[in-house]
Symmetry: C2
Subunit: 306 residues, 2 copies
């Protein structure tokens, strides 16, 4: 079997412009949703903003918005939900970085929240971001009908809870220094990162009023997308440029963590990532040319440098 070509980041200007347009909507949305840093009690609002506005790629909310548009909805319909997903993602990073968890001092090239503030503030800021995510979805002035908004809250809650993200984090911590095979590694990542990506695609589709077939198709896309993303993340931890990833290289290895890179080697892991992106793209075929952006997004996930 020949090695598949690793795509270079030669994504079209159209892709980049559209990504940037989505990303700006998300930044604006988050800016409006986060309480002002001057609001009492100030330290928690400062810390929440520090965590949220830290130069993240906004990949999850971009996926949410793009899935909504592909399924026939508007950016407006999915924007609060997209922001809610990013709030959940951010809370999970703030708590994962805590000394009792992954004990990371740096993220995206800056001190993590518990280093910049203190541990109590980081715990509470994470709690507050998680709470805000659901409050945003329940906002009576939101763009969706109550039935659709509630369905989205259920998707997000299920993905973020102990059937999803939290399960992945528990299993990930338990696996440190333990022997982990490929099946267990996939299970960890299907929960730790996969569940939230899957929720993004589903939530976007649901916000658009899509039928079950499109919701399921976009779910399958997101499952492969999430796998491609995670394998690439593992590879970047080994070979990535610290300036681009914003974190010290080799932290997984120092921590005794089994990753796709350590289990299969970097070259095989690269192939697995590209194959997952290809399977993701294949799921989009029934949508035709309109799916170009999400297809490009899958290859972006595996060709990114940070």
């Amino acid at each position: 079997m020949s090695e598949p070509r690793i795509p270079r980041l030669d994504l079209s200007e159209t892709f980049q412009a559209r990504y940037e347009a989505y990303r700006r909507r998300v930044e604006d949305g988050l800016e409006r949703l986060l309480p002002a840093a001057s609001r009492w009690p100030e330290p928690i609002h400062e810390a929440m903003r520090y965590a949220v506005f830290s130069g993240g790629k906004r990949l999850r909310p971009v996926l949410t918005l793009a899935a909504c548009e592909l399924a026939g909805g508007s950016v407006e319909a999915a924007l609060p939900a997209a922001c809610a997903v990013e709030l959940v993602h951010t809370y999970s990073l703030v708590h994962d970085d805590l000394p009792a968890m992954d004990d990371d001092d740096m993220r995206r090239g800056r001190p993590t929240v518990h280093v910049a503030y203190d541990e109590a503030t980081a715990i509470l800021a994470g709690d507050a971001l998680l709470t805000l995510a659901f409050t945003v979805l329940a906002d009576p002035d939101g763009p969706l009908t109550p039935a659709v908004a509630l369905r989205i809250a259920f998707e997000l809650g299920t993905a973020a809870g102990t059937a999803g993200l939290i399960a992945g984090q528990v299993a990930d911590l338990a696996a440190e220094g333990a022997a982990v095979d490929g099946r267990e590694l996939e299970r960890i990542h299907r929960h730790k990162t996969g569940a939230l990506f899957r929720a993004c695609a589903r939530i976007g589709a649901i916000a658009a009023g899509a039928g079950p077939a499109d919701v399921e198709r976009l779910s399958r896309f997101a499952d492969e997308f999430g796998l491609a993303f995670q394998i690439t993340d593992d590879i970047l931890d080994v070979v990535g440029d610290e300036a681009a990833t914003g974190r010290p290289a080799g932290s997984d290895e120092r921590r005794g963590k089994t990753t796709f890179a350590s289990l299969y080697g970097v070259e095989t892991a690269r192939r697995l990532a590209v194959e997952a992106a290809q399977r993701a793209a294949a799921e989009l075929e029934p949508f035709g040319a309109r799916a170009g952006f999400l297809r490009d997004l899958a290859f972006f996930a595996v060709s990114r440098s940070g």
Copy 2:
């Protein structure tokens, strides 16, 4: 001004039987909502159950159910929401007890979650309980219309976030060892404990389909109820029996915390608590005799021993 008589716990058998009936419904509801301890990943589900089934009084969900019935609704209508409130309350205790926060080793006579398990598990169990609370409210099989369920989620999110519970915890931590006057102390407690009690009463009323006048009346009841409860909590920290309260006496003082008891003295604090309970009861007058249970509940809040 004469000292008001401190009511003894001579609450009627009717009150006690009804409290117990509500409490059992809540226990059953929580039992059904919490994932089995045998479900993967087991440690997180064990820790969640350890935190939730620890002999708590279930005062908040009982208030929610009673408010719903008083406003003309059924226990069935409010039960998931009542359980959601208890999940939020429990998460807040688990996180407040963490070493970086209040650093408490014991609660309700048992080791706190981070002592019984570990810090990472306690952080994640708290996160999971908070997430579950909103997931329960968004359950498509719930008893409420999506519009009512969403309104309740918004009430709970607002009360639990940085305009409520989290603000109170931030201000409480900031106040440790600092000079705090009566106004600031009330502000802390209006957020730290008051917001969630207020949400209980509002959520119960909303689940019943109550109009704005009843929702507001029950809100005002709950504000005074919460104040009466908190002042009593402060008094119990000074004079309480450790066997009844389940925690070491005098912990507030050792921590340099200003409380209603330290600021006003125990006797004046008792008077303030009873006066708040009386104001709470007065809010219920328009409901007539049907409000007997909630009136008794207000006096239970100030005459309890643990």
